[in-house]
Amino acid sequence: MNREKLIWTIIFVIGVGALGWRFFTTNMSMTYVAGTDYEFVEVGPAQSSDAPAQPSDKDAKTEPETRWVNLAEDPDLKEVQSGQEKVIKKLEPWTTYRDISMEVLPIQSAFKSAGLDPSLVLDPVDAKRQIDVAAQDGLINDTQKTDLSMRVGALERYPEVGLSWQRTLGVWIAAFFTLAIMSFLYRDNPFYKVAEAVVIGASAGYVMVAGFWTTFVKNLLVVLFPGAMRESLVPGLKADQAPDYIYIIPLIMIVLLLWRLAPKGGWISRWPLAFFIGVTAGFRLIGYLEADFLGQIAAGVIPLYVPVEVVSASGTVEGVSAWLTIWASFSNIVITLATLTGLVYFFFSVEHRGIVGRTAKVGIWFLMVAFGAMFGFTVMGRIALLSQRLEFMFGNWLDLIQRI
């Protein structure tokens, strides 16, 4: 084993040991969640036929209005009891969980400081009982009892609080991939390669799935076959949604684009491609002409003398402030000078000699200042990204600082 390998082996062993010790002695990476129950039923007018609604494209316009009611909020369906409505469809109940670690962890710390078992926090009713027992036994004073009871009481608003092993594991995976990506700064290695491949694969998969649901389903299938989509993939779709058959044209273009994969006639895909390129070029040209070309010329025509008036508290003009006027005018003069000299620098039809050369040189100085500002902003951005990652590592993973 060479020296470098030995050093890295020692660092690895010490690192794993420290992590193991921290994991078993602290709240490192522990993620607590609260659940919220959902159970939806679709209700509609009672006078419609008893059979569940089967909307089709043909009779979509005559479908009665329906709405969704959350049984978790209205378990007895009191709103439906009037007899005006009836239940048409019922969805399988589900529960969503959200991270409440920021609320649970400080309470656990308070329990630990008071000599109580921190795991009690997850069952607020039992925790309150234990607080009473501890107070009776003299382990905590009245102030501590009130404080702990109040803190635990805050968790009672959640129907279900628990440790989420899935999310805790997620924190570990995120930490592993962060370290794997950062390891590239030392040199290329298999951990970095794995992390890179996972990022690319996951991103491609996500974009594909997002594209399918947001565009292919919602902007094509829903428009062409609203009835079928309402019964299958998009139950929240309005019953009177009528099909729009003009969307058959984009459907044909999709087929033409995919023709590229066919063994013969791949050239057909150039037609829709040509359409997209033409449309995009047109869009961009108009956008640039109006907002950048004309808009920026208009914004560049500014007065070189800007009198700044001093207004009293009562709203009367008391005169012109000399210093503010000088400052505002100076700003506008610099902007005008920078614009003109910068433009001269990019004017290559005339040789940059004499007055043109000197003006172009001033333009270069303004450009350098702009590049410096860009560099400064870029550094700021990169440090912010590193800060956010380190905050995650030190907070959510190692529990050394407050979590984000």
């Binding site: 709405r67 959200r98 920021m102 700064l185 030392y186 996500y206 974009v207 997002a210 594209g211 947001t214 565009t215 919602k218 902007n219 829903v222 428009v223 993939l233 998009v234 139950p235 929240g236 779709l237 309005k238 949604q241 449309v279 995009t280 869009f283 961009r284 956008g287 640039y288 109006e290 907002a291 950048d292 808009g295 920026q296 208009a298 914004a299 702009a370 500002a373 860009m374 400064g376 902003f377 870029t378 550094v379 700021m380 951005g381 440090i383 912010a384 990204l385 590193l386 800060s387 956010q388 990652r389 380190l390 905050e391 030190f394 050394l400 600082i401 407050q402 984000i404």
Partner: protein, 285 residues
Amino acid sequence: MYQFLKNLDRRWVFLLMGLAVAIPILTNLTFPEETSPMVKDIYQAIEDLPDGSRILMAYDYDPGSMGELQPMAKAFTRQCAEKNHKLYYMALWPLGEPMIDIAGARILMEEYPHYKYGEDYVNLGFKPGAEAVITVIVTDLPKLFITDQQGTSFNDIPMCRNIRNIQQMDLIVSISAGDPGTKQWVQYAGTPYDIPIVAGVTGVQATQLVAYIPDQLIGLLGAIKGAAEYEQILDDNFPHINDNPDAQEAKKRMGPQLVGHALMVALIILGNILYFVGRRRGEER
């Protein structure tokens, strides 16, 4: 010394920068923020709108720029919620949708429980097509956003029933990490249709967008510094936000910024000194 510094392995520089950022985070080093006029303009633009105004929240960024943009996205949501504005969230980036959940919907659910989905805020989700999407929704919003992110018909959502296009919005808040983003909102919505826009962007973009101020863009939050100043003005005007640690995210990141930038300046000076010393010694670049 010269030879040592000239041949210094760049990995020592990486380590130094890592420590320069990590130590202020671990020691919770923060500094007071002064609000600049541009940040005040943005704050005032939202504040001057009548309560309950319609605001389009365009979250055009992804996890790669969360460090810079998430604090300002949260702060925008908080100020709008303080004014009870109606918030229409949408994204032109595929991963903008989860950003809406993290830096929009979650803030409203946890900190402003009176905000009801569909009545006070709606998540229209992601729509691919970049500037083409803006060009369509500027005249016909439900044509592209047939349903919201959850699949509810656009016209079934109470706060969307009377919305035909985004010209009915009182303000566009664009939070952007690149293209499509603030530039496209200015080009295809703000400039041609006179819809007021405020923006929060990454540092890389900021210098390119400053030229749009003040005629085509009311104001711009540039990178984490802009976000920190915006958090400060919210703290000053809404004291209960000051007590919320989640609302101090950008301000916390300014400590590492100072030390990191100081190190960067020192390294640039050192690099220049080495260059001139080398040139005096007759060494090639």
